[in-house]
Symmetry: D2
């Protein structure tokens, strides 16, 4: 097939550059252009400052960044938005009204009942909410959201457990990577030889978005912290299940878990969305964040602490599975579901 | 009064040097000597390699380190032991049999019913077990233990809550400092840009030692992790209380908490064993580990998540309150209780 | 004597807070007030966000921060300025014209021939330039500058060598701490597991300011880099001397070096401005930055590589000796020289 | 052609695993086996503890590690040795005497005149020393060495300058990565928030090995330091050239530089052995260490400070180009030169 055209909003930030990196070599999609704030407009990606490890291929590196103007965004198949939430809240509805399909990382609209909040392996059916969204809002385009990164990673690990044993409550403590706060988010003098036990707005998002994605209303207790790790959110999880379980059955259910993206063999779908490691000291952010090319979550330390009391640790790449990669996977799903 | 003589075992390690640092300027105690393994014997502390920030005063820095020989340890008032557990298990009973009083950080004997496992603000009365220990073992000296560092810090924060509201169960996730593993414990290439979700033996210790120190049998679920922080263990705690609570009453109970060391105005006793911070992003290891000269624990993010569901974060300096400082405080208590 | 009143400009930044920390317990000076940008005005220091390890005493912590207004700065004995250079360039001359004596860290005016650029142990006599400054500019007050932090540390180590053996040229490579760039200067995702071989404007400053402070015109080649260290600039130095030297004589000259602040026993003067360490692997930023309460520089690895070719490494605390502390020492000197 | 068989000594260390990683997907070579110390013998690589980011393919990961026994090393085309020097000094000559061709990272024998010390782009002709080595030592096999990592990276950047303008002297200061010291080399508590201005034996190696590799006797002044970076040695270099130069000509000479491996299109040869970056703040270890798949060195900040005074910064991946990769490239060269 002809490659589908995509456009990237907010291309110069950490998540924006992750979009560029993943899309630059995508088998179905082709970057038709990108926009960012006034400060970067007119520059190339390299001039604006490439901050990831692998530089983009020359034809992308030299592409000019446009100033974001909703009336001049070209007709493309998908727009990927890495805009800050306050900008996104204004811009994304305008784009949808103009007929664009926007897949967005921004937190606005995530809880609107007519907006898909999708982790493709978990709730692909929610993409159908787009029809209702268009009808209710009178849009010819639409907006698709992904949950916040911590939620996406957590929910993937919970889904097989919820399905098979049911969940009464969870207690979660996260150790989150610095890239989750954006390039200028955490000053180095604030975090070296340190940890910060608070991330603004994060705990509320995990509670509300988890309920929406998993369509469940179990109790959720969560404490989110920041640690000196570049990429990869680590989450220590306690699950009170409804039915009792064997640890080996849980490990098996996690390892076997597959969703629609795997069935459809979507290009960004990891072969196994959940990798379970048996080494006692894994997963570790630096060693495991690139599992499944950053699209798998890695679970370890699965143990039974008491009847119906499960504990484990889960890790995911926060700007790949937790952000750009998840939206690209959703777009791939939309291509196949059309 | 004349200064009491003390002797330090394992003086060259991270905890041993912390002992030296705290005792070198102690108003009651005077370092009469120190011993370490063969490798350091005959050297001065500086020659063996001082690794803490503040060098010891010259008369201590130039003191010769002796080779540990139980028959040549001088008569002193207290021996502080920072020996590795496998050495301690052999040496400490021999010293006690020879009439020495040993305050030890090593994990052996911590669960023996005739061995005091003491956090001076929590269970000073357990020092009386020494009499039973001497009687049962036929020792003229004795061994006093402190809980592991994570437990000490956790238990201080739990004590006022246990006393006033009762505890049904706790879920804990720790983010522990590198110094807890000793100088060579965690290679730099293993932990920079990383976190490790496992610490050998630690979780079992927290469960068993907490029950012994707090004389309580609530459910304890704990996950211990290592993060790239030099000093200061951070612990995220969920407490299911027996009686319902007001957050402000909990904050007040924590802030007001005092123990026997405070009543007796012991020199190493922090004015307030628990400092509660109201800033949303505290405690942080680097900023708060020296609260109360490293002897206070700092609690923050106290919040009520549901009826009888309390959450908070607690931090303590693992090699001061969690190790050397706690044993010195216990020795001070023993002086006053004689 | 009555304590002299001082006022702090830019009190909320890293250097501003260092001023607060050092002045809060100063024997001669008393903080009469402090100002910062609009964002912090009206808050207390704690509310604006205290970011150093040791919190200030309560009476300072609760002091209200004023909005900077040159016409409302109170009459005090000294104003210490930690303003950003672009603000300083506008504000400091206005204050001097209004009769205030300003000791400033900002880089503006550092090369003006009528402005003292002072390291008190090296060129205290340059404080006399204030008279010429007042005469030429028609000011009743005046502005005193300190060199940039890298230069101050380097020049202290060079002064005894210059005096005794003469210097033909130096090659320097620095490894500079993050705090030198200010609180938001270096994002954590830019520097963890990394080093950056460029600091804007720094190399030019070292060349020009060294010549001015040392009143010498030897060749200076310098490369400045940023490394993941919180505080403490490390500088590897090669010196081609004019006369040949013995290493032991160099060590002795460095160790013996004293200046006017030591003669006058000024309260912030370290007993020895240069400490020489004989251990092969020192100085190290974390272990040595607090030498002489942050006011000494520490030299190590002194070696002779060839005739008239000296090499060593020097370290200094960049926000104490390299910034706030140096200006406070200069103010102390002005008190005594009046 | 049939794939050539190779065998890895010391396969479990950081350099050993880098060999495994690079050889596991090598187009010409096939791992026939690997040996390590007694502690790892009998385990698989995974059981012994894989510590690099990318795990090896399953057939390699599950390969059993043998106990090193010179009489049982199988007949292969090349043995790659990542043994510690003290073991290598004993084992490697025994292997060569038994007819094996050993390419080794260990520092023993590097200065022996009949032992090739090879950077394939610089002195491929020195491989011919093997004949003399065999004749003189009566070996049927042979030993080929590479310079230490710092030297290899430095010398690649110096070679085009030496050839075109001549070199009178260099002043170098290195900022070296932690992996250069091996897995347990630098404890985390020694280096976080710190730098260490000394690396045992390193400066002497740079001086002596540079002279041997470049066949030149210019003056070399070098200070080696350790910084908290995982991989990638950064070196700040001043070069006094014999003839004067234009910066643009230097940049061009560096960028154009190619050697025999590029002519022969060897599989591990980077297209350009030296990449020159024009951004003012590059090279940076984390962003640039994988240039040319870790086999290129990256030069930046090329500037002329005075007539015949050149300055630049060079970076290379210390365990790829600086160790395993360089030896593999040498083996490829030997295949083609046979």
């Amino acid at each position: 097939m002809d490659r589908l055209k995509v456009y990237i909003l907010g291309a110069t930030g950490l998540v924006g550059q992750r979009y560029v990196q993943l899309l630059a070599r995508h088998p179905w999609f082709e970057i038709a252009g990108m926009a960012a704030s006034e400060r970067s407009a007119g520059k190339t990606l390299l001039q604006a400052g490439w901050i990831l490890e692998e530089p983009p291929p020359p034809e992308i590196a030299e592409m000019g960044i446009e100033k974001l103007d909703v009336d001049r965004v070209p007709r493309v198949d998908f727009i990927f938005s890495a805009l800050p939430s306050e900008v996104a809240a204004r811009v994304e509805p305008q784009l949808a009204a103009r007929g664009h399909t926007v897949l967005s990382n921004a937190s606005n609209m995530r809880l609107d009942p007519d907006v898909p909040l999708v982790v493709p392996e978990i709730n692909p059916e929610d993409l159908k909410l787009l029809e209702r969204q268009r009808a209710e809002r009178g849009w010819s385009g639409g907006v698709v959201k992904k949950p916040n990164c911590t939620t996406t990673i957590l929910n993937l690990s919970l889904k097989p457990i919820l399905d098979e044993w049911g969940i009464e409550r969870i207690h979660v403590v996260t150790m989150q990577a610095l890239s989750g706060a954006g390039y200028r988010g955490v000053p180095s003098v604030a975090i070296i030889d340190n940890a910060i036990p608070y991330i603004k707005g994060e705990e509320e998002k995990v509670v509300l978005e988890t309920r929406r994605v998993l369509k469940a209303d179990f109790e959720i207790y969560v404490t989110t912290t920041r640690v000196p790790v570049l990429d990869g959110h680590l989450e220590a999880v306690y699950v009170d299940t409804k039915k009792d379980f064997d640890v080996s059955a849980v490990v098996s259910a996690l390892s076997r878990f597959k969703g629609l993206p795997q069935e459809l063999k979507l290009p960004s779908a990891p072969e196994r969305p959940i990798e379970v490691r048996s080494e006692i000291d894994r997963p570790q952010p630096r060693l495991d964040r690139w599992a499944g090319r950053g699209m798998a979550v890695v679970v370890g330390r699965v143990r039974k602490l008491a009847p119906r009391k499960l504990a484990f640790v889960v890790l995911g790449h926060n700007t790949v599975r937790g952000a750009a990669g998840n939206s690209i996977l959703a777009a791939e799903l939309m291509v196949k579901m059309k």
